[in-house]
């Protein structure tokens, strides 16, 4: 912007006013208000735009607010990143149901990795205990708790977000708070979500979950490595779901569920790389997808040995 030399009298009056206002603003912003956040942060959050419309500086400001809020809420220093999707990468998942034994190690690893509320049913992965020889989801049981698994006559079918290529949840959202990223992962802007839960009814895989209460996480269990569209601490009243551990996978690491699985049933990779393991699975194994007839084109395949 071009600088102009304004009239001296007006300028001094304005300077005096700005000085007073600035002092008041400094006092207000230094003292905790509005739920413990500074006026600056409260205003910033109020006027924060949609993730896809924000400039790099605005996102950096928002990330600063997220980190300060986490410090206030949990007393933990987290780092929130905004790693962008890689070129020529579309994530896909394959799960070997002959290998899955129903240990639920993936579930607990996911809860820890993604800073999910302990105590509520906020779990992205639901391991269904199914009758052998049947694919009837209505007769599945996910509260199973025997002494040891696997149980004779049962098999286990973990269900999480299928990262559909034609996601019905995205179509249902009235405020565009959820969308599919270029690497094929459907994400949520937790600050834009209004909590209407239309997406939850649109999802045929029970993959979306609602924060009925402020997530409670012990400070020592907070995962400080977070992503803006991933596992950053969420407020009450927003929907969340599996995001293929964006904080890990966008920098080349395996998702937490794959890392935790002791049987090697989970295979994660880039669908666009013809030499990837997942492409080998799709080429050589009998694969199926859940509720394929709905036409949602999940990027999550199940297979058997």
């Amino acid at each position: 912007m071009k600088k102009t030399q304004p009239d001296k009298d007006i300028n001094s009056g304005r300077r005096r006013f700005l000085g007073t206002a600035g002092a008041a603003f400094t006092v207000a912003s230094a003292r905790p208000a509005w739920g413990g956040s500074t006026l600056m942060d409260a205003m910033g959050s109020f006027f924060q735009d949609h993730y896809q419309r924000m400039s790099a500086e605005e996102i950096a400001d928002a990330i600063g607010r997220i980190e300060r809020r986490a410090q206030r809420r949990y007393g933990v220093d987290i780092t929130c990143k905004d790693v962008k999707p890689q070129d020529n990468v579309v994530f896909g998942y394959a799960l070997n149901i002959s290998k899955c034994k129903g240990y639920r190690d993936c579930v607990s690893a996911c809860v820890r990795e993604n800073n999910q509320d302990r105590g509520s049913q906020m779990q992205y992965i639901r391991v269904l205990e199914m009758d052998s020889g049947s694919r009837n989801l209505e007769r599945s049981e996910h509260y199973y708790d025997p002494e040891t698994v696997p149980v004779e006559g049962k098999y286990y079918l973990p269900v999480q977000c299928m990262q559909c290529d034609d996601p019905p949840c995205v179509k249902a959202c009235p405020v565009n708070a959820t969308w599919m990223e270029p690497d094929g992962v459907t994400v949520i802007d937790y600050d834009w979500c209004i909590g209407c839960r239309y997406c939850m009814t649109a999802c045929p895989y029970w993959a979306r979950h609602f924060n009925w209460r402020e997530p409670e996480i012990p400070a020592e269990e907070i995962n400080p490595d977070t992503h803006y569209l991933g596992n950053r601490p969420r407020p009450r009243g927003v929907v969340e779901k599996c995001h293929f551990c964006l904080q890990r996978t966008r920098v080349g690491r395996q998702p937490a569920c794959q890392e935790a699985c002791p049987t090697g049933a989970r295979i994660f990779g880039n669908l666009l790389d013809p030499n990837s393991e997942i492409r080998r699975v799709l080429a050589t194994k009998q694969v199926f997808r859940l509720k394929e007839d709905l036409g949602t084109e999940p990027k999550f395949w199940y297979f058997t040995d």
Binding site: K101, G102, Y103, R104, D105, V107, S108, G119, S120, Q121, Q123, R126, E138, R139, E141, H142, Y143, Y144, D145, P146, E147, T148, V149, P150, T249, G252, R253, Q254, Q258, E259, C261, P262, T263, G264, I267, F268, G269, N270, N275, S276, E277, R280, V281, T284, K285, D305
Partner: protein, 239 residues
């Protein structure tokens, strides 16, 4: 009207059956008879004499992506085995071993024993049937001799587990990371806890997936259930 038609059809079948029998007889008659009454074997090529060349060794599957096996040598309790075995003569007799080795080998239904996989003269190595000596970190070469299809899946990343990163150099676990070669089956174990349920509610009843739309009609008993006799869970779900 119907009677003559059926007769005509049965008359038409008779020549066909006769023709088939005639063909079968002709086919039998063509076979040359041997003194013992058996038909001759196919002309099999004569078995070749064993080659003096050493057996061709396995060089990998075409098109398989590169891999690095995560080393297990530091996890082996008694490795290097030569610490003890260099001072012991090799006893090639099949027998039950004493501690620290486990007596029974729960693998291969009694068809294999120690020296089928462990090299007799160099105990820090494994042996393949072709006589190669491989390190303990190349145990997959030994396993592959019986479990070829699983080994191929493992090489391409369909079986087994990739460690750390999906991108970049591929690091995978070896067979023995998950399967104890002396007892390869995986034991059942306790699962992690089920999802918590909100206070005051029972979990959804097992296989009682829906609260019945018409509580007086029960599919399972076929006996009508009186209104007001629904189970506690249904009341909870309704409340």
């Amino acid at each position: 009207m119907r009677q003559p038609q059926r007769q005509r059809r049965s008359i038409a079948i008779v020549p066909g059956v006769l023709l088939a029998i005639a063909f079968a007889l002709a086919a039998v008659a063509e076979l040359p008879e041997r003194e013992d009454g058996h038909r001759p074997l196919r002309a099999n090529p004569p078995a070749e004499s064993p080659s003096a060349e050493p057996a061709e060794s396995f060089t990998g599957y075409p098109g398989a992506p590169d891999l690095t096996v995560v080393s297990r040598l530091d996890k082996l309790t008694w490795h290097p085995c030569s610490n003890c075995h260099s001072a012991m003569p090799t006893n090639p007799e099949r027998r039950e071993l004493m501690a620290p080795h486990q007596a029974a080998l729960d693998h291969g239904d009694g068809r294999i024993w120690c020296l089928d996989c462990h090299a007799p003269e160099s105990r820090d190595q494994l042996a393949t049937l072709a006589g190669e000596r491989v390190s303990f970190d190349q145990a997959d070469r030994v396993c592959a001799q019986c479990h070829a299809d699983v080994h191929q899946d493992w090489t391409f990343g369909v079986h087994g587990k990739r460690v750390g990163r999906w991108q970049g150099p591929r690091e995978i676990y070896s067979c023995a990371h998950c399967h104890d070669p002396h007892d390869p089956g995986l034991r059942p174990r306790a699962p992690e806890p089920p999802p918590p349920v909100r206070a005051g509610l029972d979990p959804m009843p097992h296989h009682g997936h829906h609260t019945p739309l018409y509580p007086w009609f029960s599919e399972e008993s076929a006996e009508p259930v009186q209104p007001g006799q629904e189970s506690k869970n249904e009341e909870d779900a309704a409340g």
